[in-house]
Subunit: 355 residues, 2 copies
DNA sequence: CTGAAAGCGCTAACAG
DNA sequence: CTGTTAGCGCTTTCAG
C-alpha cells in the first residue's frame, strides 16, 4: 500500500490519491470481463452487441461515471463533433458582440447543436482576417463552422469555400456565392419597415446603419424600393452612417441632429441603434412618436419594454439557428445545401403609432 | 493518375482531388529532410532546436498552411488548452443569456483566453444540473472550466471542487467555499446605489430582483445596510421579486404598480430590469427622475443611451474576465487561488438627478 | 456476437 | 542538436 502510494506520487499519477487516476475503457473492460472492443461497441450503440451485454456495460460505465476520452476518439475515428461558431468583429470595435442579437443567436445555436450532440467552440475573429478560421478546421479543432455575420467579407468567404472548409454563414445571399447562407429577408425587412412609415404619412425617413455591411445594404435597398413604390422622392441627406455599435452611434445621431435637417421618422438597422436614437432624440426634446416615428430591427427582448415600446422587424431566431445547424449538417455530409431565407415580420408598437 | 484518382474516391480520402488529403507532420518532416520529432520540437518552440532549422521548418509549415492535429497532440501530451465557459440558465427560462452582461463577460473571457492561447468551449447548462459540467472535464473535452453565475448552486459547486474538477466561478464569496470565485462587490454595490438614493432624499426605495440568486441577495443586504446607516426604516413591501428576465419582469412591475404602494425610487438588480421598469413606469405616467429615481446594475452599453440615461453600478468587466482566467490558470497548475472581488463604482446619470 | 491486433497523428524519453 | 522508439486511449477491420 505504502509502496503503491509512493509510486503514485513519483509518477504524478494522482493529486492525492490513487482514486483520482482517471478511469478508462480498459478498466471497464477488465471489470466487465470483456475486451475493450466490446466496451467500445457497447458504448457506441453498435448493433453487433448483445442487448444484455450492452446494458451491463452501460450500467458499469455509468456507476463509475466514466467519460470517454474525446481526443482519442476523434483521433482514431477521424470524426469531430465540435462546431466552431464565429462572431466576427469589426476591427478595433470588439464590442459589437454586446448586441443581444448575437447572444440570442449564439444561444439558439448552442441549443440546436447540443440537441444534435455537438459541442460549440466559440471564437471571435476580426472580420478582416476571416480567413483565419480555416485554421480552426485544418487543425482538426472543429468539424465545421458557423459564421454569424458576413459583413463585407464575401470574397474571402468564397475563398474558404473553394478550400473545402465546411461552413455556413448567417447573412444575405449574394451573387456568385460558393457557400451556404441562412439569413433574414433583409430587403423585405427594409421594405416593410419603410412601407409602414410611409403608410403612416411619414415622408422624410432617416436611415441609420452601416451600408458597408451586406445585411444593412439590403435593408437599405428595401427602404429605397418602398419609397419608389409610394412614389416618394428619397433624400440622400437622410442617412446616418452608423455602425452597429452604440457608443459611436450616439455621437453620430447628435451630429445629425445638429444639422437641423428636417425629418419625421427614423429606420435603424438594429434595435440597439433605434433605442439609442430614441434616447438622443428625446433628450433633444423630440417626442416619439408624435414628432418622430422610429422603427428598429431584430426585436430584441427589450424592444417591447422601452418607452415607447419599439416598432421593429422580427426574425425568427430559433428557426434561423435551426436552419443554420441543419444546413451545416448537410454540408458536412457532402450534400448540397441551398441558401435559405427566414421570413421577417413587422411588429408594430407605440414608437410608430400616430397620436 | 486515373488509378490514383479512383483510389481516392474509393477510400473517401478526398472530395475531389488528391490535394485535399490533409498534410501532416510526417509530410513536413519528409520535405524538410528531418524526423518528425524535429518538426514537433521546432513547431513547439523547443530550445533544443537549432534556430536555423526551426526557421526553415516554420516557413515550410506556414507555406503549406499546416495545422497541427490537436486531438493527437492532446491525446499524447495529456494537456488540453480548451476551457469550458458555462453560463447556467435557470430551468425553463433559457432566455437570461440575452442579458448583455453575460455577452460582455463572454467576450472578455474569449479575449483573455485567446491571448493565452486557449480555446473557449461554450456550454449552456441548467443551473439545477450544474454537476453535469464535470463530464466536460472528465471526458477530456476541456482542461478547466469557468462558470459564469453561481445562482443558488453553492453546494453543488462545492461537490465539484471536492471531485477535483478545476474551475473558477463568477460570483460571490460564501462561507465554507471550496472553490475560487471572482465577483463584483455586490454588497458594496447595493450599498452605494441605496446610499445614493437616500442622499438624494429618497426614502421609499423599491428593490427589484431575484433574492434566490446569491449575487442579488448580497446586493439586497447592501441595500438594507444603507437604510440602517441612514437610520431609515425599511418597508419589506417595497420589493419586486423579479428574476433576471425581462418578459416576466414587466408583468411583475405592473402588478406592483397596481398595488398603489407609495414609492419614490427603485433599485434594480440589473440594467435590463431597470430599463424595463423605466418603460413601465413612464407608461403609467410616472416621470423619471422627478417622481421616481431609478438605479440599475451592470452598466451595460446601452445604459448611457436610454432616456433618461441610467444611473447604475459598474463593474470592470475586462478586469473581471482577466481575473477569472488568471485564477483558473493557478488552479490548473495546482496552486492556490484566492477568491477575488473586483471593485464597483456608482455611475451617476440622469435617472436619479433631482429636478 | 466477441476478441486480437493494428494503428489515428503526435510527443517525449532515451540514446546518440 | 537530432533521430529512434514507444505509446496516449480509442475504433475498426479481420478472424474466429
Amino acid at each position: 500500500m505504502d509502496v503503491n502510494r509512493r509510486f503514485m506520487q513519483r509518477t504524478h499519477m494522482a493529486k492525492s490519491d490513487a482514486e483520482s487516476k482517471k478511469i478508462q475503457m480498459v478498466d471497464i473492460a477488465r471489470m466487465a470481463g470483456v475486451s475493450t472492443s466490446t466496451v467500445s461497441r457497447a458504448l457506441n450503440g453498435s448493433p453487433l452487441i448483445n442487448e444484455e451485454t450492452r446494458q451491463r456495460i452501460a450500467d458499469l460505465a455509468r456507476s463509475l461515471s466514466y467519460s470517454i476520452n474525446l481526443s482519442a476518439k476523434n483521433l482514431r475515428s477521424g470524426e469531430n463533433r465540435t462546431i466552431g461558431v464565429v462572431i466576427p468583429y469589426q476591427d478595433e470595435i470588439r464590442q459589437d458582440v454586446t448586441d443581444p442579437f448575437f447572444m440570442t443567436m449564439l444561444g439558439h445555436l448552442a441549443d440546436q447543436l447540443t440537441k444534435q450532440n455537438f459541442d460549440l467552440l466559440f471564437s471571435r475573429i476580426a472580420a478582416s482576417h476571416i480567413e483565419d478560421l480555416a485554421q480552426l478546421y485544418e487543425s482538426g479543432r472543429v468539424g465545421g463552422l458557423i459564421v454569424v455575420g458576413q459583413w463585407d467579407q464575401h470574397e474571402k468567404l468564397n475563398d474558404l469555400a473553394r478550400r473545402q472548409i465546411p461552413f455556413v454563414v448567417w447573412g444575405g445571399q449574394l451573387s456568385r456565392q460558393l457557400y451556404c447562407t441562412v439569413g433574414g429577408d433583409n430587403f423585405n425587412g427594409g421594405y416593410l419597415a419603410t412601407q409602414h412609415l410611409l403608410s403612416l404619412g411619414r415622408r422624410r425617413i432617416v436611415f441609420m446603419g452601416d451600408k458597408d455591411a451586406t445585411e444593412t445594404q439590403q435593408r437599405y435597398a428595401g427602404y429605397l424600393q418602398a419609397h419608389q413604390a409610394y412614389k416618394v422622392a428619397h433624400d440622400p441627406a437622410l442617412y446616418i452612417p452608423s455602425p452597429f455599435t452604440v457608443a459611436e452611434a450616439r455621437v453620430d445621431i447628435n451630429e445629425f441632429l445638429k444639422k437641423k435637417i428636417a425629418f419625421d421618422s427614423l429606420f435603424a438597422a438594429s434595435d440597439l441603434l433605434a433605442i439609442t436614437a430614441m434616447g438622443a432624440m428625446t433628450q433633444h426634446g423630440l417626442r416619439i412618436p408624435q414628432d418622430v416615428s422610429v422603427v428598429g430591427y431584430d426585436d430584441i427582448g427589450m424592444a417591447e419594454h422601452t418607452y415607447p415600446p419599439l416598432t421593429t422587424i422580427r426574425q425568427p431566431m430559433d428557426l434561423a439557428g435551426q436552419a443554420l445547424v441543419q444546413n451545416l449538417m448537410r454540408v458536412l455530409s457532402d450534400k448540397h445545401a441551398d441558401s435559405e431565407v427566414v421570413k421577417t415580420d413587422l411588429i408594430i408598437r407605440n414608437s410608430t403609432c400616430p397620436v
